[in-house]
Symmetry: D2
Subunit: 354 residues, 4 copies
């Protein structure tokens, strides 16, 4: 195991890229050797992000234009924090030059070209890489990430839905049909888009659904849920934009496989669900299973790589409610990518994340 690995961040000027830079600057085993941004090329990290100014690297490291050949010389592992559709063009050359890639975009998250085309309305630019990529959800795919050359690191909505739902589907505790995920996101989840919809006055004192009924991220969520369930899963997913900077809260409505009409049945089911989550996550450093009366709250996870999960059986409706909270820029983006980086490099999985 190396002590330090040279890393680069391509597309370091967005919110995820900025958070990734923050995490890597403070990572005990990462040496940030390159950051790219067409817009800011030639300027130092400090000039663009004054909040990094106390870090020695940030004072001298300049943004450069992204160039695969150069990046391959500068870094052993390259993080791509680019808009969807752009990451693909850097991935193939970097892989050919023997570099490992951790991609934060959605470009390599799907296994099926056809599904990609259905949801993204274009042909996939590098379909042969889809089979090589590993869906970078460490708590679920740790062993595959370990040997991946290309990690497709999932975003905030998928993470907030998959981690609470996969164990229940795997253990056959809930029906794979009829699942509803209702998600609430802070505005940084939309990226640093300079559009009227994301102006302060348009978001503050406002809440609105968007992207319904067929949000793009449904494709990867359903792909991973189907893998867990062993059957094709189709879900309902409704994202909403709420007036805060960071955080995603998701409420998931599930139907238990077994009815629980009597209190005894309810008790038995509760025990099974608790066991299911405990066996899935009790040793996971970044999954916090809430007990007692506690319910998830984004303010308890913002700034950390933790996802909070709580659940309730509702005897009146026969449903199971599962709620999760995470920081969309950390566990829902850059923290999760660093977690995969730690796995690949053999570092402690929590390195640079606590």
């Amino acid at each position: 195991m190396k002590t330090t690995v040279k890393v680069a961040v391509v597309g370091a000027s967005g919110y995820s890229g900025e958070e990734l830079v923050r995490l890597l600057l403070h990572h005990p085993h990462a040496d940030l050797t390159a950051v790219t941004s067409r817009q800011y090329a030639g300027q130092t990290l400090t000039q663009i992000f004054p909040k990094f100014a106390h870090h020695p690297t940030a004072k001298t490291l300049c943004f450069s234009d992204p160039n695969a050949g150069l990046l391959a010389r500068q870094a052993e592992i390259v993080f791509l924090a680019l808009p969807h559709g752009v990451a693909a063009e850097y991935t193939a050359p970097l892989l050919q030059l023997g570099r490992q890639v951790i991609d934060l975009s959605a470009d390599f998250r799907l296994k099926s070209e056809a599904v990609y085309k259905e949801f993204y309305s274009r042909d996939h630019p590098a379909p042969d890489l889809l089979i090589k990529s590993v869906y970078g959800l460490p708590e679920i795919n740790r062993s595959q990430i370990l040997n991946a050359s290309l990690v497709a690191s999932p975003g905030c909505y998928p993470t907030s839905i998959l981690l609470p739902t996969i164990p229940l589907l795997r253990d056959g505790l809930v029906k794979p049909s009829g699942i509803i995920a209702n998600s609430l996101s802070g505005v940084s989840g939309s990226g640093r888009k300079v559009e009227p919809d994301y102006l302060f006055v348009e978001c503050n004192e406002s809440v609105r659904p968007y992207g319904i009924p067929k949000h793009r991220h449904l494709s990867e969520i359903e792909q991973e849920l189907s893998l867990a369930a062993g059957v094709k899963v189709t879900i309902q997913f409704t994202p909403h934009l709420i007036p805060m900077n960071r955080g995603v809260l998701t409420t998931i409505y599930l139907a238990p496989e077994k009815h629980f009409t009597t209190p005894d049945q309810a008790d038995a089911l509760e025990e099974k669900i608790a066991d299911c989550y405990r066996s899935a996550y009790c040793n996971e450093p970044f999954v916090r299973l809430l007990d007692g009366q506690a319910l998830p709250d984004t303010k308890n996870v913002v700034g950390t790589n933790v996802i909070e999960i709580a659940w309730r059986l509702d005897p009146r409706t026969g449903r199971l409610l599962v709620m999760s909270a995470l920081d969309n820029l950390v566990k829902g983006a850059s923290g999760q990518a660093v977690q995969s980086f730690n796995i690949i490099c053999g570092f402690p999985e929590t390195a640079g994340l606590v």
Copy 2:
């Protein structure tokens, strides 16, 4: 028809009471003759609420201790904006003295003593009045409100769920089972409670579910939905607190009675739903049916008595999604109460509300 009606507000110091005072001060046919508040007795409206200071009445009208006999002498119609459980003690004496009461609390919204006890964990203090009261949702119960002596004016969550759902149930377009309502509320929805949970720092940059799975307002929501459907309806209701002052956004998940597998079936169903809403609400001044790509946004209704409604069929899941937005203190409280007041008095229903 009288030109002006003398009105009183009991419990005028909470957020709903304050909004009610604001509306009544500017109402062309209301003469605000009394406002009560134990806490502020002896002080003028202006002293407690500087923002009313430009209104001549506010400069001289003093808060008084609430007293049913005195109120009956001062006002023809009395609004009660009291905490749940307190309103009942003023209602009976006021009715006996021949006054009409518009109650903003939940005390008289249920028809069944047993359901009241189940959800409020106490015996109802005036069960004989439950039968006299009218559930004050003007768009649904206008003709009953017209002759009511006691109007139980509904709150924000019920209004945001009932108005979008009742027409569909009445027309048999959706199944009465399996309904889910996911609601998001600004902090004023919790009233002016001086508790740690409602401090700025605890609410800002935070979102959290609460009161699940059996929130008290489920009782009245299910009562009214059951009336519309003609069968007993049990729903799932999940409220969340989000960092804004005002506004409720509700997303409702429904199962259409008819499957719509083919595009033709979908088109036919879309037409039926559109017809259903049009025939229910096209002449309603306070219901805004969104068309085209528009989706509800609380910032478009805050400060008004309007509820926005939009809906989408999802061919992937076979579900109907309905979304609504309203101002919890206006259409979800005080504006709705004033709407009932206008109906009772024979004033234009929009008087004082536009």
Copy 3:
């Protein structure tokens, strides 16, 4: 006096324009006959601003391209809510066609071409009109507004500084030198600018000074203060952007002409200041002089045309502190313009504003 006056709003798509439309739609004596916006030409008010949808005019009135000749046929009085520098091109033709213009931009607020050039770095496009225009601060220039054909209606910062300071200067109670005004503004004060600085994530949980030390609005503030003082006044003005939608709070530091070393001197000075404000504003419907312990708070004025003013003598420093709060889109823009409209037309000054 006419009952109704036909009005047009040129540039109705910005925040001030939108607020002006809201006020004029509900104004008892205004008939809104035209709204212009290049961007939205051909669309109805309702399509762009759903929140006006309940108003009959908004459903049918379409945005048009601005055209002075057409506007002159449609309206008797034309409001210009355009960016600085653009208003001038509509003003001259409208005046020539005999229309009255109420301009919300800074184009006609200065009397001196030279000062305009100093602060706006360009020649004034219609210098002959500078002499015709009246600075539209109703509480100060009411009689001039009455006969004005061109009202230059002041914005939020000048209003928040001038109304509290002018009476003190006029009465010689404070020194005209050394004045400092420290202002805090909600984000709508910057207009609907689609720029990175005004994105939600960049403004929320952030506060920052800007435009120092020589903000453009200094020019008109100093012009009006000089008029009041009878000598040339130069002030310090520091605006800050704070995370809220609406509201301006200004804290002004002044030096009393007379020292107040003893308690008797302080009492005497306090009485004089109180008298000065009372005689200036006690009959003004939109100026609220706070007494007792009360201090201005933007939440008490938002949505109204009111400016709150409070003051304190500080015996430790010998200074007088004056604080004001107003809604930047109402008293600081559109409400003030409507106030001038009421004066010009002979309507009650509060018409459409309470």
Copy 4:
């Protein structure tokens, strides 16, 4: 030098206490052995602050009732994060038992009993300790902190005013008279007070001055400025509450000793000021002197121990404006206390703070 020092936090349930716990849990050389809170005694850190749940210590460390004898056995250095007036009762016994105390309250910041009584309206409870205590502003008093047994660690407003002003006064560049500091604070600056003024709805969309003209913290600010100037300094200080969780922004108005009428004079003065700040702070890890067009913004310092400082000469008024931004809970409270802890223990001053 020890590798690890045992520390305790008394009053760990407030916002400063919570932040202090966060910093100490992650400090490489601190071993948090005790946290006290009357309210939460018997509960673990994790139960009260779920966000610490990933830290092993937080799972087992229970809040206890504060007891000086016990604390002295548990810890070598004790942090007091108690309300003003309460800290004194723990300080004397802890010092007698040979422990070092870092007090975050205002109890030991003043040197004069008389000034304490003037500003706090009570006799000081332990006046003999006033002389022993060191005002814990590391950038100013580093050498005294090194050997202090009692550090009175300053709060957010004093820090935001003192660090930008002291070097200028020391070097005689600005006049000690006529100083004005206008400060804006996020709501956590008021502590976790469960009072109506700090409810979300009362703070959101609101800005207001408070505590004027004689805020308690004036006493320590003037004490420290007087020390720097060599003469008694009296300043004007106006705090305002703005709607954000964290952050203080202060704008300071100063009069340069020398006039700068000509451009050459201005250039010369600018150079002197730049030199003054550079020589004071260029090696300080937590002071960020902004250059170019940059102005302080709280979002660039929140979560860090950094204070940002920028300044501008205004040739129109002859004044010097200095602006600073810091996180009220870090550099303005707990981070600064940890900085003193590092100095006392001989650890790198940045340990646990970057």
